[in-house]
């Protein structure tokens, strides 16, 4: 068994420290929003979690393409790892969004394009996990998984676009707001700093988790091989 790399341990520690700083910034450094009050503070981690969700699905799709081109098991492990992390973070983003939406939109949930898209995205990747669970042959599992991550990732923007043709009430904090969105606000410099820092910290956190999950995947493969050896 290979030992845990030194660099990974360092990254773990850096991650914990950065998370503590980010939490501190969200609660202490960033000013209270004038209209919405303290509940607005959820925004920093909400957007960061959603961001991690998006990039991890992107990474999964890229890993899918890479697997189809090279047929190396490494890419399959990356794809699976990324999908799992992406699902967790997308779900965290949904839960945080609901906490914010309850006082601001006066409802936990609404069929807004972003919310719809995230739900369907979660369903796509749940289907991905079920597809993998139904196939025994590792090579075929990897191929089908790769194809499905690519299809899923392509359908997400189309889903978003189709849902967006309905009117949206989700605020767009970066870029221009559509008329009718509720709960929008302008960021002060301190808010912007906190926000960008949260994004940065979550990205590091994603890299750290991905590394851990890839290692786990490799070890799991090894265990499977050993089991096969014992059985035969």
């Amino acid at each position: 068994m290979q030992a845990k790399p030194r660099l990974l341990t360092i990254l773990d520690i850096v991650c914990v420290i950065l998370m503590i700083i980010a939490t501190g910034m969200v609660f202490l450094y960033a000013p209270e929003e004038a209209v919405m009050g303290n509940v607005q503070r959820v925004f920093y981690f909400h957007v960061s979690a959603a961001w991690v969700g998006m990039i991890s699905f992107l990474v999964a799709a890229v890993a899918g393409i890479a697997y189809l081109r090279t047929a190396r098991m490494k890419w399959d492990i990356v794809g699976l790892a990324s999908v799992e992390i992406g699902m967790v973070f997308s779900f965290i983003a949904v839960v945080m969004g609901s906490i914010w939406a309850r006082p601001i939109w006066n409802t936990w949930w609404t069929w807004d394009p972003r919310l719809t898209t995230v739900t369907i995205m979660l369903l796509v990747y749940a289907a991905y996990l079920m597809l993998r669970a139904g196939i025994d042959d590792p090579d075929r599992r990897a191929r089908f998984g790769a194809v499905y991550t690519i299809l899923g990732f392509l359908s997400v923007p189309l889903t978003f676009f189709s849902a967006r043709l309905f009117r949206t009430i989700h605020p767009v904090v970066i870029g221009t707001n559509q008329p009718g969105s509720e709960g929008a606000f302008d960021m002060t410099p301190r808010m912007l700093q906190t926000f960008l820092f949260s994004l940065f910290v979550f990205t590091i956190l994603y890299a750290d988790l991905l590394w851990h999950r890839i290692r786990l995947g490799e070890l799991a493969n090894k265990v499977e091989q050993l089991k096969m050896k014992v059985m035969s």
Binding site: L68, A127, M130, L131, G134, I135, R143, L151, T159, S162
Partner: protein, 262 residues
């Protein structure tokens, strides 16, 4: 098999034989010779697969009858579930239609691929010296034909049962575009689903989340046509449908090789 069909088969076999003897060389050499016009030979193999599916269906009538009865049942269940009175009908007709098509379509997609798998026909198809994507397009066009046949029968039945006129060129166009997109992804995913342990259950789970854009756009565009909205309100949905059709047919064309690869 009836006597007529047997004779027909014999005729076909005799025809094939005569072709080989005329050319005076085995079939494998013939295919090589035909590669002078790759597009024609590609279309030829696509057509052969479509024709095979249609012929098999014509003789067994398993798939279409199952899809059709299922579709009618769904419509009847909707009647009770939604209380389809005159006022609600105007707004929910397209939704009811598309849910029906989607469910019946899944049934057909599942069956058409499972049939190939169960009798080992898929291996036979893969051994044929044709491009793999020809197999994909052949199966997809076959599935599309089945789905369209069901839709062609469901539309007048719905029109009569619920006293709404569904025969508008715009609506027919939307149904065609929507079915193409649905079948393009569905054929690809059904060839994945048959290889898994939970095959029948898995196809809708794989297909529906990916096909949501097509369903939303089709429902919206159909409602637009049925309610006589202005074209400028329908065009975005039509564009979305066309984009989806092109993107997903292209992707399926590119990745199908990896799915059937052994």
């Amino acid at each position: 098999m009836t006597v007529d069909q047997t004779i027909e088969n014999q005729d076909e076999a005799a025809h094939l034989e005569s072709e080989t003897t005329e050319e005076g060389m085995p079939i494998s050499v013939q295919t090589q010779k035909r590669e002078h016009s790759p597009i024609a030979s590609f279309l030829g193999s696509v057509w052969a697969i479509v024709w095979k599916d249609l012929q098999a269906e014509l003789r067994s009538r398993e798939l279409i009858s199952a899809m059709l009865v299922f579709a009618l049942l769904v419509i009847i269940i909707f009647n009770f579930a939604l209380e389809l009175d005159a006022r609600t009908r105007a707004t929910v007709t397209s939704g009811v239609l598309w849910v029906t098509f989607a469910f019946a379509g899944t049934l057909g997609l599942n069956r058409s691929m499972a049939m190939e798998k169960d009798r080992g026909c898929l291996d036979g198809l893969l051994l044929a010296p044709v491009d793999r994507s020809a197999i994909y397009f052949g199966k997809a066009i076959g599935n599309l034909v089945f789905m369209l046949i069901v839709e062609i029968i469901v539309l007048p039945v719905y029109s009569i049962l619920y006293n709404t006129n569904l025969f508008q060129p715009g609506l027919i166009g939307v149904i065609l575009l929507g079915s193409i997109g649905y079948v393009a992804v569905g054929t690809l995913l059904s060839s994945m689903a048959v290889e898994t342990r939970t095959r029948d259950v898995l196809l809708p789970i794989l297909l529906f989340p990916v096909a949501i854009p097509v369903l939303i756009a089709s429902v919206k565009a159909s409602t637009g046509f049925l309610q006589g909205l202005e074209m400028s309100e329908i065009t975005p949905w039509l564009n979305l449908l066309i984009v989806y059709d092109i993107v997903f047919t292209a992707v399926a064309f590119m990745v199908f090789d990896y799915i059937v690869e052994e």
